[in-house]
Symmetry: C2
Subunit: 408 residues, 2 copies
């Protein structure tokens, strides 16, 4: 049984964390550190953007199977910084390794913030040393860490679950994540970076990598605020095995619990998307292939016309079909069913490819369903057995304001 | 020599046009007709959206090599209308053919407007018969036609050129087009439909089809207001040969003139995009393949983060690189040059993949370049010899308003 609990990144045994102010940001916390008493098996997902930040480049190259610590700075993404950016990452690793007395290869790094600027290494070194000194366990440490990695996030993203494995071991899984945002209206940050650290005291074998990919594909990789993938996206799972017990790789309870944490994180990021007023869930079922289902979800979720229609509760469902038609997903129009759900309403729109109703009054019902904080677009292609679900948000005036404003 | 002239859809010899009010829209003109005295060689480009409107389905199936007339209704897209939609298209063709005394297969049809509603055939029949009676030549007829196909367009899109072919023949080419828009804030139209009719009195052989594709690929297919492709997009070129002379298929002057008309049309549609305040031109050079260059242009042009940054003249050039990195286009970051042009300013941003400057004051220069009605983003990948150019517009509060507002 999976129990959702109050907790944070240090809830699983053997993890410590800190969040401090290094000075990269003017005032807010801007440097976070997670430390595991014993080297943890590490599973990492990186952005697939061809323009990768310096920390992503270094992490991908080293590909360490074990990590003892992850350090995260916010306020500067260390992207588009060339050779100097890489050197700065190496310096960060070595400084942290010396402070924590671990191997530099076992220090993971993430950055988020303004791109195209060099790090102020004086501040970063201070942040590393201060965070190392302030490592702690419990609610305060968790909160400081979760806060230090935030940019314009309006919701702190921490989730914890407890689950009993088949072999009787009780394990904890916690995630801390940041969604999309800017540091400040004058700092010019590349939007949409998501950084996630997941800690667990379960044991995982190196083979869990493919499962981690699968879980990311169904959670974080199905979130979209604006369809723009960052240069810095990184999601690290650290499993230090402190709970004891055997490998949890195949344990259905463990996998379900990890999925639950990641789904919750993904949905919260979508809901906290820039300027968002509504969470949009897109469900595509009956696809011939999983890839087709994902393509359709992404195209519908990223359509500015669909997103702005939902912002305005404008029952313009033709736009959903237009987006589906552009997705490259295989379907026959005459088999497609479209339903819009919101609140406790469930409104069939298309039945076998044809509009269910033509009357103006009926259209008003669609508008009412859309006029909810969570709107579900359910498309059944009626072709195969594959499905996918994704989460996005509406396109609002505030999205434009946040991303257009230049505070000189 | 290509001369731009005052003119419209009936400027080339042997074409007549009309624009009338059929009643589908409450007040505005909503039905247009172009007629050629002799059947014209027809070259048609259709939407590649898998959800195609009824007129597109019928046109694609019949694929008539000659067209005597094109009829266009605005106010109702006749899309998502199933079998009845198809029957309505056939009825429109037969009615128009009877009025004009031509073969039904030689009547081309386009629709734009609200989707998911059946046409009011009583009104449409009236429109056909009235337009057939009112066919005329000259400025008034041209203007009525161009107006009848508009939805929320704010600029009437008519262009004419005169060009002397190598064999001495003087030919005319004219285009009338509609850009993206809604009919009215309460009518819920699927956005982004572009309909274009090009008339010329030059002679073209059936083989010109591939050249038409090529020209569309470099003009209309490189325009994007929101990345959402309509179910109804259609571009028809009618060449009736009334100017005499030999086939102009290979005539470089003719091709250059046709390209010029189509480029002008494309740019005007981008500039008149919903809510747009700025035209954005994206130039990608030095790509390994043409397809790569196009992919990069489209990804940059459609990025909501790039578009909203340009709306606010926010010099956040990292977003351009982020979009490039997501495009799937091949490049090495260390070879990339990025320049932003606006007004008479030309500001180098990235030189061999690294930011040219780091200072706050220099960033202000980028902002000044962006603060123009036309902003050019020039990316040289430094890899190969292929290039592509595209046109889009900024993402503004008005875009959100136009597409979110539900006038009940």
């Amino acid at each position: 049984m999976i129990e959702e609990i109050e907790g944070g990144i240090t809830t699983p045994q053997g993890f410590k964390a800190a969040g401090v102010h290094s000075g990269v940001k003017y005032r807010a916390l801007d440097f976070g550190m997670v430390f595991s008493e014993v080297p943890a098996s590490a599973f990492v997902g990186y952005t697939s953007n061809a323009v990768k930040s310096a920390p992503v480049q270094v992490m991908m190259k080293e590909n360490s199977p074990k990590l003892s610590a992850v350090i995260i700075n916010s306020g500067n993404a260390n992207a588009l910084t060339g050779r100097r950016g890489i050197e700065d990452v190496m310096a960060m690793k070595h400084t942290a390794a010396a402070e924590l007395e671990v191997d530099p290869a076992e220090v993971g790094i993430m950055s988020t913030g303004l791109i195209g600027r060099f790090l102020d290494m004086h501040k970063i070194r201070y942040g590393i040393s201060r965070a190392a000194r302030e490592l702690g366990v419990g609610k305060e440490a968790d909160g400081l860490f979760a806060e230090a990695i935030m940019t314009t996030d309006t919701i702190k993203k921490e989730f914890s679950v407890r689950v009993r494995l088949e072999d009787g071991t009780l394990v904890y899984i916690s995630a801390a994540s940041k969604g999309s945002g800017m540091i400040s209206p004058c700092m010019k940050v590349l939007q949409g970076t998501t950084l996630t650290v997941v800690t667990t005291d379960a044991s995982l074998s190196p083979g869990f990598k493919s499962k981690w990919q699968e879980i990311l594909d169904d959670s974080m990789n199905m979130v979209s605020v604006d369809g723009d993938q960052s240069t810095n996206d990184t999601a690290i799972l650290m499993a230090n095995g402190k709970a004891g017990g055997s490998f949890a790789d195949e344990d259905p309870e463990f996998i379900a619990a990890l999925k639950a944490v990641m789904l919750k994180t993904a949905k919260t990021i979508a809901m906290d998307g820039e300027g968002a007023t509504k969470l949009i869930e897109v469900q595509v079922t009956g696809a011939e292939t999983k890839e087709d289902a994902r393509k359709a979800v992404h195209k519908i979720m990223n359509s500015p016309l669909v997103k702005s229609a939902i912002f305005g509760s404008d029952p313009n469902y033709g736009r959903i079909m237009m987006a589906l038609g552009n997705s490259g997903c295989k379907f026959n129009l005459e088999d497609v069913h479209l339903t819009i759900k919101g609140g406790d309403m469930e409104v069939p729109i298309l039945d076998s490819g044809a509009p269910v109703f033509q009357e103006e009054r009926a259209v008003e019902v669609v508008r009412m369903a859309m006029d909810n904080k969570e709107v579900v677009i359910a498309v059944d292609l009626g072709l195969g057995k594959e499905s996918a679900t994704g989460w996005g948000c509406d396109l609002t005036y505030d999205y434009v304001r946040i991303n257009a404003e230049y505070a000189s």
